[in-house]
Symmetry: C2
Subunit: 344 residues, 2 copies
């Protein structure tokens, strides 16, 4: 079906031509850019001695000088004949990068692939401090030190298994029965982890805002920690954000004080996985997000939600874009976006 | 010309069909993966207090646990109908990531774009410690501290201007007359800088070796610091590396002790920019690389070189893939690869 659709979209008699083979994408352009950020100058720091090669004499390195910091990196794949009216921006969550949405840790196609084949031009970004966006000296530029997510935290916080179910030995880890996460690929997933800071929110928001100004109108599909940034960008540029899909978003501006009138024209959809009731932490998050959603609806906006187990889809984790049934969830998002009039 | 070529390659009557518009790429697949690396466990480190939000009470964070570290990240764009017999791997240099080869800092298409349109499936990687490959705690895992490249070093070391020609104020910077670097985009280029370590060479080599084993046969186009890793991988897997293009490579295994018989079947091409004679540092590098090249030829291998000013192409910097005439240089590389029998 996908084959036929892609080729018909491209205006070709698919069967008759070798060119339009299974799943071929007609790509107008690929590329990337850094956006946002600022120039800083460091001075007065002492020279350091660094040993470049074990055994070799140390070399003096001067850490002072001019730097560019706090920009955001985005990579785009633009379709020649998109079915969507605007591009899709995929925003990752905490301790991760845009890789979240690329090929899944088990090697199967991820959401970037799904949405490209569904006719969306797709942008995948790395926020300030992550991945190709790079990071800056601390405490001179970033004001605190970073932290690193241990596997145990990923396994339990992302609801692959219950609190205490992680073990160093993969064979001893106890996932929730029926989990959709491909647990044999969990250590592969752990390779995607990126150190994070707790004190860069203002810089990250500024870079996301610059990003939205540069490439939107668009839709934003945002995960976890990214939620707060996406809601804030939508509040600043409601005309630029044509829809916002909040995938287990973990925060937002204060739901009691948001100016919902500004964003009631931005349709929003929240998507939640399974086993949330087993974690008080997730209960607090969903309660806060639910308040935001309800207030948006009360103000006349579109604030829909899909709680997967309530529609018969069970076993999904916080990393649902890597779960075995990730295509099924992407299809629900794609259909919802189509209902908002965003596809041709 | 590119339009017609792309469409003819796809087996289409280009002019008659809307699908095959200017520069449309027929893409079979896009995706990414992490490869290589190892599991480590940290224990006995004290808990840290981190302040996540300014003014909020600090939270205790436990830095101990299991981590995956020292893998390499690669992103691929595979053509439906490649003109090349094997894919091309683009390996970046020091203090940078794979972004080196993507869209140029001035917004024009980079070498990734060029080679895709020339019929190569292309892989772009981030080595250990850089970009989406991520980095690990030091000194517990990485054994030293990182260093950050100031703009002055980029400007002068990469031969955009002479020693002492950098200034904080862009209008005061003195580039070499006729430089091909788009100097108005120099600060944008500086956003691509990624902190680097001096002590991760063994881990980086191991990840590159795993990468070559995973995706090759291939050709490798390698820049600057990446050279040493590529030469070593070719020595380990000479049957996997069908050609190696050394773009201002800055190091190699000891040219006096290399087993050239192992790699005499791997055609190699060195490419050098302009103004090298103005820097003793670059003179030492080219002398060492020239010794490697001459010894390879003496052993019966193919060791070609293009010194751009010697063929009438002037003003190129160390970052020639970002220079204004980057397409011209890519074309020379593409033609050389074709002469090695690597295109259909």
């Amino acid at each position: 079906m996908k084959t036929i659709w892609t080729c018909v979209a491209a205006g070709l008699a698919a069967a008759a031509l070798g060119a339009c083979s299974t799943n071929t994408l007609q790509v107008a352009d690929v590329g990337s850019f850094h956006v946002g950020g600022r120039a800083v100058t460091l001075s007065g720091l002492p020279q350091k001695e660094l040993t470049f090669t074990p055994g070799a004499p140390p070399l003096k390195v001067d850490p002072n000088g001019d730097f560019e910091v706090e920009s955001l990196y985005a990579r785009y794949t633009l379709l020649a004949n998109p079915k969507a009216k605007v591009p899709m921006l995929l925003w990752h969550g905490g301790g991760l990068s845009g890789v979240t949405f690329e090929t899944k840790p088990d090697g199967a196609p991820g959401w970037e692939n799904y949405f490209l084949h569904a006719g969306w031009s797709v942008y995948v970004s790395d926020a300030v401090e992550r991945g190709r966006a790079s990071w800056a000296r601390y405490p001179e530029i970033f004001t605190s030190e970073p932290f690193f997510r241990p596997k145990k935290e990923g396994w339990e916080l992302f609801r692959i298994g219950d609190t205490g179910s992680y073990a160093t030995d993969p064979s001893q880890r106890k996932a929730f029965p029926g989990t959709q996460f491909p647990i044999a690929a969990f250590d592969q997933f752990a390779k995607q982890a990126i150190p994070r800071w707790a004190t860069n929110d203002a810089a990250t928001q500024a870079a996301y805002d610059a990003y939205v100004q540069k490439v939107c109108p668009c839709v934003i599909v945002v995960h976890s920690q990214g939620g707060n940034f996406a809601f804030n960008s939508a509040l600043k540029y409601p005309d630029k954000v044509k829809a916002l899909v909040a995938v287990e978003t973990s925060g937002s501006p204060n739901p009691d004080t948001v100016d919902y009138a500004r964003i009631k024209g931005v349709p929003m959809l929240w998507v939640w996985g399974d086993n949330i009731d087993k974690f008080p932490f997730w209960g607090r998050i969903t309660a806060q997000q639910e308040k935001f959603r309800a207030n948006l609806v009360k103000a006349g906006g579109i604030g829909d939600e899909i709680v997967l187990p309530q529609v018969g889809i069970h076993g999904n984790t916080h990393m649902m874009m890597m779960d075995r049934n990730s295509d099924q969830i992407a299809a629900l998002i794609d259909q919802w976006l189509a209902r908002q009039g965003l596809k041709r």
